[in-house]
Assembly symmetry: C2
Homo-oligomer: 296 residues x 2
DNA sequence: AGACCTTACGGTAGCCGTAAGGATC
DNA sequence: GATCCTTACGGCTACCGTAAGGTCT
């Protein structure tokens, strides 16, 4: 039993004629006869009564017709569903992202993506960059967004890394701070400031320590928090300053509740937004679309 | 997309290996590769990620797997259902029968048939013999049971007739009747009796008139009824005698409420129980089984 | 080196179209 | 005689198995 045979059978049954079915199927009439004969032989039943002038479904034929139409509908749906997937109009993307990126970078991207591809399911898992990397490697997520120092070009095994651009870190101070009138600040000038920092293990904390150590500046970490949002509130309240991603303070800066100072001073390492994916895993239609959006 | 390809795909997906799927399918491994490749090419999607050591379903693969397993289940069910039909263990028989046969002959037959083939649906339509004949010709019923005078051997067009045996007609009289002590009676002796008869148009009425006319006997039809059951009650009540099928009075004779006299006298035409069917229509498994039962 | 999937190549089985045959109306 | 389905025959497509080639562990 093959789908071609079932298709021929359904057509013959609907048209009640081998000849007209052959026309519809773009086959010759003997070819249709053989398709039906093969089915009848395999199933051990007669599917049509040949009444000379006309033909008529037998009971077995009616039974098979029910199944055959059901099967045809399913194959049509399968074709449809897969062509939707291939065209990127349907499917599912699992994204892993470092927490700050998930909070401050992804929302506008996902909003635009959702508008362009409303049929695609999105799932998001957040965590530390190292954890996101594991999720990508294990295939739990299709794509990972993390931060990293320097331009990542190494392809660690099956893992591909691409930079989406620089992820600028700024000094956030409250409006009344002595540095608040400035637009730039060197790392040296941070000496003596009380710094609010993320907990250890986060890329943001590691980066801050790296920058300060390179400059030989000793800064007291007066408070350690596990939330960028909490740090911003503390800075607003005048409890200190902090090194934060520029995108994370954009709203507060626009509203005048915080001032963002560009860090200068040599040598200042750059952080990048990095997208991670497995090179040996198939890139589905939706994922390709998402990639295109990321690179804009 | 063909069922063979879907079968290969499902096997590969379940075993998570082309090699092991090939073993299960009794194919070589390259053959399996080509089946999957053909599917991927036709559908325009990758179904498996080839990760060197192992393979993994893609999103498109998982989507197709759902459809493919559904389709496989349906084809299995279709096979099953049709083999049930072929074996005579399932199906449906539509029977047409003359009213007296339906009442007095069919019940024990159908009881035995139901015991032997409990899976087969039975439908019964009753009517005059001429009407049953039409039902068989038009294909509304698969088989017809009627009465006819003489052995029917003619094949009227597509209609096949076979006799199942003689359908004896007897004279039914009440126990107190003057003939009640006899076991046989000639047609001549009916002269002067008051006869209860079926309405005109029934085979029973036609037969009775035929027999009486042949013998040159004039009998007054004192009452005309359209029910054999009603006639029997009238005869029991002493309102007359009647020519009835022996099987129709068997119960009353056994109970002593009626006496059945065998008709003799030359020439006495015989009635037969006749089974009608279309020769050009397929005889399904269940129908064959029913035929076998009828001929026992 | 071993395991696994893919590609290449030659042979065969199955399907198709043309042509002839048989049955029915 | 016309119509419709079936059977026969030659040709071609497509699938299979064997063998060689890649790639990753």
């Amino acid at each position: 039993m093959e789908l071609r045979q079932l298709g021929a059978f359904v057509t013959v049954a609907r048209r009640a004629s081998f000849t007209r079915a052959a026309e519809e199927l773009h086959l010759t009439q003997p070819a249709v006869t053989r398709q039906i004969a093969a089915l009848e032989s395999e199933l051990g039943v007669l599917l049509f009564d040949r009444l000379g002038k006309s033909i008529q479904l037998t009971g077995a034929g009616e039974t098979l017709l029910g199944y055959a139409e059901h099967i045809q509908r399913l194959t049509d749906e399968a074709h449809e569903a897969l062509s939707e997937l291939a065209a990127g109009r349907a499917g599912r993307i699992a994204i892993g992202a470092a927490s700050t990126l998930a909070t401050y970078v992804l929302p506008p991207l996902l909003t635009r993506f959702r508008q362009a591809y409303p049929g695609i399911e999105l799932s998001l898992r957040t965590g530390l960059s190292a954890r996101v990397r594991e999720l990508v490697l294990s295939g739990v997520v299709d794509i990972g967004l993390v931060t990293s120092e320097g331009e990542p070009t190494r392809t660690d095994g099956a893992l591909l890394s691409e930079s989406l651009g620089v992820y600028e870190t700024v000094l956030a101070v409250p409006p009344g701070h002595t540095l608040a009138g400035r637009t730039r600040v060197t790392v040296d000038e941070l000496a003596g400031e009380s710094l609010l920092a993320m907990t250890e293990g986060t890329n943001l904390r590691t980066y801050a320590e790296h920058v300060l150590a390179d400059a030989g500046v000793v800064v007291s970490v007066t408070m350690e928090l596990d939330s960028v949002e909490a740090i911003k509130r503390m800075v607003e309240a005048g409890l200190g300053v902090s090194l934060l991603p520029r995108v994370a303070v954009a709203t507060e800066v626009d509203a005048g509740r915080l001032v963002a100072l560009t860090l200068t001073g040599v040598p200042l390492p750059e952080r990048h937004i990095v997208v991670l994916r497995r090179g040996d895993k198939h890139q589905s239609g939706p994922l390709t679309a998402f990639f295109t959006l990321l690179h804009q």
